[in-house]
Every structure is written in C-alpha cells, then in structure tokens.
C-alpha cells in the first residue's frame, strides 16, 4: 500500500534544543498514535507534518505532495486537517461562524456550498444543536469538537490531531474517541497523545517519540509485548523496579527486570511504553 505520508530524516532545532533528530516514518490509512513524554518533540513533529514550520533537514511528502515548494505546500494543505494543541477561537464567534471562517481559509468561497459543508462537519462532530451558540459558552469538550469539525472541513485525507483529549473528562474523552475512530475510517490520522488508553482503543499503529527521536514504531500489541514477563506484583515497593506504584488493591505493580520467582502480571500498553522510554530517564515511582 502506498503510504499517505512518507517522512525521512526530519530534524529541527530550536535554538540550542534539538526538537527533532532524524525522524523517519510512514503513515497509511487508519489511526496512528504518537506517544511521548513532555518535550519529546510530538508537537514539533506534528507542526512539521502539518507544514506549520519547516524542518531544518529531511523531507516528507503527503499524498505525493512535497511541501518544499509553494505549489506542493498548497496542494498538501488542501488535503490536510489540523487540530493544534491549543486551538484558538475568536471570542465572539459562534460554532458555525468559526467553522465557516476556517472553511474560507480552506478556500471554500462559494457561500451556499461552504455553509452546507460547515453544517455537515458540525453534524458529524455531534454539534448540530449548538451551531448558533457562542464558543465561549460551550464546554471544553464541545470546543474541542468545534476545532475537530473545523479540521474536517473539506474531507481531508490526512488529519493531524495534537493531544485532542487533554483536559477532557472521561465521558468527553470517550465521545471524542468515537469521533476520532469515525474520522479514521478511510483517512490517515496521526494522533498525538499522552494517554496510552487513547492509543490502545483507537490506533492500529503507535510511534513512541522521546528527546526528538523515534524509540518505537509498530503495533500496540508489539509495544505491549516489550513488557512481557517484565511486570510483576509485590507486597512492598521493589527497589529494583524501573517503575512501581501501589495499586488500589494495596499491592505494588512493578515494571522492569523481575526477581526470580516474581508473581508476573499481564502487561499493558502503558508498561511497554514505560520500558521503551526507560533510556530517556523517565523513571516513575509512586
């Protein structure tokens, strides 16, 4: 299958900070999760792939369009939907007005067709009943859905979502996952998130980024398998564990190199993620 997105050797520095270092990946139809700690370079990578900032080195294409040229960048953006980490809204806009504004930026100049498209994406995002409500009067979850609706204008083939579920309560997060899952049908979605549950529930593939480099690129099952036989339970905190915390049952869940005879537990995606980050000095204790 020809990948939708093909990136090779992407590198970017911000002053003295190496935000991305030789990142290569290929994305195809479906939802790919991008996991990583704060400062890993997730937002930077998304901004590069969304053509918001150019990489210092490396190249990528989206649907064969090269953003290195003005025409290529424009064609790429016509197939792109982008939800930034902190989407901004004009304070006086209603949900309809905001999505209409973004639709104009996406070159939908015919008023009737544009309004049909705006209503379509608002309905798709479950916001049909609040089209005329001012965004400042919407809940955080609804605002995120407005931003997602704006990203869906034009039915883009490539959707870039930067931590769309952050700050949402569990119910809102579940609703948003439904939207993302639907959006991923027949479309390439790159979803950046801190939440391993988002990846476990939505993604057919996951990329782990840390300190600007790719630490893992595979399926969620493969990431989970990294923690096979490396998660165990103990009555007390195990000082030899790379990460350990008291569970609600009162026992300790440990991740790392188990001692002989340890009571092994079924690993989760989060365990595999923690072990993958182990080389990035992210020891977790609780």
């Amino acid at each position: 299958m020809t990948p939708t997105v093909s990136a090779s050797g992407l590198s970017l520095r911000y002053g003295g900070t190496r935000a991305l270092d030789d990142v290569s990946l290929r994305l195809s139809t479906g939802v790919t999760g991008l996991l990583g700690p704060n400062g890993a370079g997730k937002t930077t990578l998304l901004r590069v792939l969304a053509t918001a900032v150019p990489a210092d080195r490396g190249a990528f294409t989206v649907l064969g369009h090269d953003p290195g040229t003005s025409r290529g960048r424009q064609e790429l953006r016509r197939n792109l939907g982008y939800l930034p980490q902190t989407p901004g809204f004009h304070p006086d806009f209603t949900a309809f007005e905001f999505v209409d504004y973004v639709a104009i930026l996406k070159e939908h100049t015919d008023r009737a067709a544009r309004h049909r498209e705006v209503r379509r994406v608002l309905d798709e995002a479950g916001l049909g009943d609040v089209r005329g409500r001012r965004i400042r009067k919407l809940s955080g979850g609804m605002r995120q859905r407005v931003a997602l609706a704006a990203a869906l204008v034009g039915d883009p083939a490539f959707l870039v979502l930067d931590e769309p579920t952050v700050g949402l309560d569990p119910e809102q997060r579940m609703r948003f996952r439904e939207l993302i899952a639907r959006a991923g049908e027949g479309r390439t979605v790159l979803l950046s998130t801190h939440q391993t549950e988002d990846v476990a529930m939505l993604c057919h593939r996951v990329v782990v980024l840390a300190e600007g480099t790719v630490r893992f690129d595979g399926t969620p099952a493969e990431l989970t398998a990294r923690a096979a036989d490396r998660v165990w339970s103990s009555a007390e905190r195990d000082p030899g564990a790379k990460a350990g915390w008291r569970t609600g049952l009162g026992t300790f869940r440990n991740v790392g190199d188990p001692p002989a005879g340890a009571d092994l537990l079924e690993p989760t995606l989060e365990d595999g993620y923690l072990l993958t980050l182990d080389g990035a000095d992210t020891e977790v204790t609780a």
Binding site: T43, T51, A52, S70, Q74, Y82, P84, V102, A150
Partner: protein
C-alpha cells in the same frame, strides 16, 4: 400574500413554488419569514411538497438561519462590493475590532487636542510623531499569534499566508489612515503640514512587514517603531530653533517615500516566507 398573525397567508401557488425551490426573492424571503411563524402555512406546505422536497426546504431554511449575520464592518464591506468570504475574513481581524479602533480614536483625539491647545505655529510635531505609529501598530496586531487566536490554523490553510496578510493590511491600513486623516481635519491651522505623517506611516508599515519575514511579527514592528522614535529624538537634537524635524521636511518626506517603495518591493520578494510560521509559537 397574507400574514399569519393578522389573517395573511402565503398563496398556495407560492407555497408549491417554494417547495420546488423555485420561489425567487423577495417573495422567497417573505415566505421564509412567514413560515417560521405560521403553522397553517407550514401544514399547507407539508401537503404541497413531498417529504424529500419538504426536508430540503427545511434544510435550506435552517441553512439561512445558521448563516452568520454580518456585523457593522462586514456589512459595510459587503456594501462596498467586497466578496462575502473576504468580508468574513476581515471581520475576524483583531485590529478591526471596535475596542482597538476606539483606542486609536481616543489617542488621536487627545493628541490633536494637545496640539491645538499649543496653537497653530510651526509644525504639529507631537501629532506628526505619533500618527505614523498607530497604523503600524494596527497592521502589526493583524498578523501573528499575539492577537490572532486562529493563527496556527491560518498558517496551515491552503490560502497563502501573504494573501491573508495583504487583505488584512490593506483594510487595517485604510482604517488607520482614515482615522488619522479625520484627526488631521482638527488641525486646519497647520494646512498641508498636518499631513506630513502619511508617507512616514506608509514607510514604517511597509518596513515592519518586510522585516517581519525575518524577525517575526513582534520584533519587527517593535524595532521599526523604536527606530522611528530614535530618529525623531536625534532629529530634535540636531535641529536649529523651531525648524520642522527632518522627517517632516520636503527631503525627509522624499526619503519616507523611497523607503516605503523599497520596503514594499522587498515585501513582495519575501512573500513566500509568510506562508510558514516562523516557529515563534513553538
């Protein structure tokens, strides 16, 4: 046509045409308004139209009700023949909000009042020094993440960043220069000398935009504004007696015109840089 509240109703022939989407304005607008208030006509429409046509009609009505209502500025732009999508873009420009325009107006009135109070002798230096900075500030505030909450989304949109910048700049500059011009009318005693802010305003704005491509939307206008003030202070130190400051002499005006042209040319050459974020928001 009759009105539901006083015994009027839309003729059945018009309702059939409405159901077929064949009713033309202004009858169409009247029918739209009447149907929202008249259950009787809605019932007649339901009989006249098939379910699909009726749904399409309600969809169209919903669409009209959802459509954003243009504000004062947007309506004015539409009346001037600006395309509706362009007017919509401009309505979201931070420096075209009433709060900003009100603040600019207040500053200009205050400055003009102080100048008038000093009497119409020589040149209105305070006014001429301040007036070019206001359009510069307005244009600077129209671009970049500082006051445009949708900056990130605009950067990755297919519309070329330079085009959006120019659309906003032209209108913001026109508004700024217009307000300056009106304030100038409060200084009739100075004659044409009171217009000596115009070319420096264009020079400052064009220079700031050209430098924005390299320095970003905050540093560039700050540098240009600071440079203007420094220039005026040094010109004040260098002048003899009550002579006009160098930028407001004929030679100074010529320099301003040349700078404006050169900066505009440079801006066009650098236009592709406005199609990308400078990464200032990273």
């Amino acid at each position: 046509m009759t009105n539901g509240t006083t015994g009027w109703h839309v003729p059945e022939a018009d309702l059939r045409a409405y159901a077929r989407a064949e009713l033309e304005p202004p009858l169409l607008w009247s029918a739209d308004t009447h149907l929202t208030a008249c259950a009787h006509c809605r019932a007649v429409l339901a009989e006249a139209a098939g379910p699909a046509a009726l749904d399409a009609g309600w969809d169209r009505l919903d669409a009209e009700l959802d459509a954003p209502r243009p504000g004062l500025l947007e309506s004015l732009l539409l009346r001037c023949g600006v395309a509706d999508h362009t007017a919509r873009l401009l309505a979201a420009t931070p420096a075209l909000r009433r709060s900003w325009l009100g603040a600019v107006t207040a500053v200009l009135l205050l400055t003009a009042a102080v100048t008038v109070a000093h009497g119409a002798t020589g040149t209105p230096t305070l006014f001429l020094a301040l007036a070019p900075l206001l359009p510069l500030a307005g244009v600077a505030l129209s671009y970049g993440p500082a006051l445009d909450p949708t900056y990130e989304m605009a950067v990755v949109a297919p519309m070329h960043g330079f085009r959006l910048l120019m659309i906003r700049t032209v209108v913001v500059l026109a508004a700024g220069l217009g307000l300056n011009g009106l304030a100038t009318l409060a200084l009739p005693g100075y004659g044409l000398r009171a217009l000596a802010w115009l070319l420096p305003a264009l020079a400052l704005t064009a220079s700031a935009l050209a430098l924005t491509a390299r320095l970003g939307p905050v540093r560039a206008p700050s540098l240009v504004g600071g440079g203007w003030i420094a220039l005026l202070l040094s010109a004040d130190a260098a002048r003899a007696g009550d002579d006009p400051l160098a930028p407001f002499t004929a030679a100074g005006q010529g320099v301003s015109a040349a700078v404006a042209l050169l900066a505009a040319g440079l801006l066009v050459r650098l236009r592709d840089r406005f199609d990308l974020s400078r990464g200032d928001t990273a």
